[in-house]
């Protein structure tokens, strides 16, 4: 029997992409997109930067206008899925109604790892995950004079750059010894450290959060793990996320860090797929190890792959991961995964804030980080998507140029 309906849980990049791609692939059955947030589905990346700064409005963040969903017969249901009944292929909703599915796609994303120190429930403390978070935060950023950021990852630093640009004194607490330590090379961390310091951001490395102090229910200061007290009317944290696996767990699906899927992005139930931030998949670029990636690219490409499979065009997921972050005048684009990198070759000039770092594991090029060298990023994606591999010796040659190399080695 051919597939007659697809229910998608979660309306972030991955969930919306499945719906759009299903129609593009010619799927004629019912598509229901269950969204537990108000309004039309929107893109999250601007929440910590352009939207927060007021550079773009809420409409510009939407994936599609309402007419698109109507025209494409994509049913938007504002509700929360309470449970999955695998036996009867049905999801139960908080509102009490239920949806039958031919296939179910879990695109439930992740939530911010919460702060767990005394004072964490005071006002003026934010993670940034939803438009509602950004809407509350936006006016406060403009008023705040003392801002403390917990965690020097992408989100924390994007926000630190925004807060510094708005004139606040910004202190960043980070347990590691450099910015974005889990995501980028030491060379790239150093460029960003210097840039943020240039914008007035103060880093406190190897420093945790001990306590949040408040006045009248609002945060007024933070105490660091080394006993210092920093004034703060506004605290923003970005200390990682936790995949939203609860539904899948309760339904008895295999869980391993995220919802465990195979290379086709199927869960342990052949009628249920999972994708995006919540899915742990065997990653080609990570030695086939189960990997969970939190990125737009991953959600979008996995969404396309699932849609293609559901219309009878199965393929293993092998897409090259890529990421970006915008901080102040810096655009960092990363192609590939640098896990296990042990050798780096740099191109460009860190002092001029134009730097690419080629990350090798042994002789194998595994990732390229480009700051304000977007052309390198485009080439890196071409090079990393297929052999022959670029060796460190070739990359370290005088006047090495990625574009020339790619042209000379194009298959």
């Amino acid at each position: 029997m051919s597939l007659d309906s697809v229910v998608i849980v979660g309306a972030g990049h991955g969930g919306v992409q499945v719906a759009i791609a299903l129609r593009q692939e010619g799927f004629g059955g019912r598509i229901v997109l269950v969204n537990d947030e108000p309004g039309l589905p929107y893109q999250r990346p601007p929440l910590s930067k352009a939207y927060l700064l007021g550079k773009i409005n809420a409409t510009a963040m939407l994936f599609r206008p309402e007419t698109f969903y109507v025209d494409q017969r994509i049913e938007l249901v504002h509700d929360r899925v309470a449970a999955i009944d695998r036996q009867n292929r049905r999801v139960m909703l908080d509102s009490g109604s239920a949806l039958d599915f031919g296939h179910l796609v879990l695109a439930t994303g992740a939530h911010n790892r919460p702060l767990n120190v005394p004072g964490s429930t005071l006002g003026g403390i934010f993670g940034i995950k939803t438009k509602a978070d950004a809407d509350l935060l936006s006016p406060l950023v403009k008023q705040a004079r003392n801002v403390v950021v917990i965690g020097a990852g992408f989100i924390g630093l994007e926000f630190a750059a925004v807060a510094a640009a708005e004139g606040a004194a910004v202190e960043v607490l980070e347990l590691g010894d450099r910015p974005m330590a889990r995501a980028v090379s030491p060379q790239m961390s150093e460029l960003f450290r210097a840039a943020h310091q240039g914008w007035g951001v103060k880093f406190n490395f190897r420093t945790g959060l001990a306590e949040l102090e408040g006045e009248d229910g609002k945060v007024s200061a933070v105490t660091t793990s080394d006993g210092r007290r920093l004034p703060a009317e506004l605290v923003v944290y970005g200390i990682g996320v936790i995949p939203n696996v609860q539904l899948a767990l309760e339904a008895g699906l295999d869980i391993d860090n995220g919802i465990r899927v195979n290379s086709s992005l199927l869960t342990s139930d052949p009628h249920i797929s999972a994708l995006g931030d919540v899915a742990a998949f065997p990653c080609v670029q990570n030695g086939e190890n189960l990997t969970r990636l939190e990125s737009v690219q991953n959600a979008v490409d996995q969404g396309k792959l699932i849609a293609a499979r559901l219309v009878g065009k199965p393929a293993p997921y092998t897409a090259l991961p890529w990421f970006w972050t915008d901080q102040g005048n810096l655009k960092l684009q990363i192609a590939g995964l640098s896990i296990g990198a042990d050798n780096y070759v740099t191109l460009g000039d860190a002092a001029a804030q134009q730097l690419s770092v080629l990350c090798f594991r042994g002789e194998e090029l595994i990732a390229v980080e480009s700051c304000n060298r977007p052309g390198d990023h485009v080439f890196a994606r071409k090079i990393l998507a297929r052999p022959p591999a670029l060796t460190p010796a070739a990359a370290a040659a005088p006047d090495f140029d990625l574009k020339a190399w790619e042209a000379a080695n194009r298959p």
Binding site: P45, R64, K331, V378
Partner: protein
């Protein structure tokens, strides 16, 4: 409301009513034009919204610069009138603009 025509590589035409102030990429994605994924949402990070400005209009835009220029330099099938449509802001004077989409969108 300016009308912009997007022509897919296979010749399929899409006439899109665009809002002044939105990007051409967004006008296309909002209207469901295939062939413009616009994966990064207009952050000029992914180069998936490449299009060729019709010759008749080529002289009416400021040339690509900065990040857009650098990325375009390295996209597949670059032509002199290539633009990343997330960086093309729709103006009232763009009624009738034609944008052609490349065979490979990257």
């Amino acid at each position: 409301m300016p009308t912009i025509t997007f022509i897919e590589h296979n010749g399929t035409r899409h006439e899109v009513h665009a809002e002044v102030g939105q990007s051409a990429m967004q006008a296309a994605t909002f209207a469901g034009v295939p062939g413009i994924p616009g994966d990064c949402g207009g952050a000029c990070a992914c180069a998936s919204c490449h299009a060729y400005v019709d010759d008749a209009w080529a002289g009416r835009f400021a040339p690509a610069e900065g990040t857009e220029y650098d990325m375009l330099e390295n996209v597949v099938e670059r032509q002199p009138t290539s633009r990343l449509t997330c960086q093309l802001v729709v103006g009232a004077d763009m009624d009738g603009l034609t944008l052609r989409l490349p065979a490979v969108q990257f």
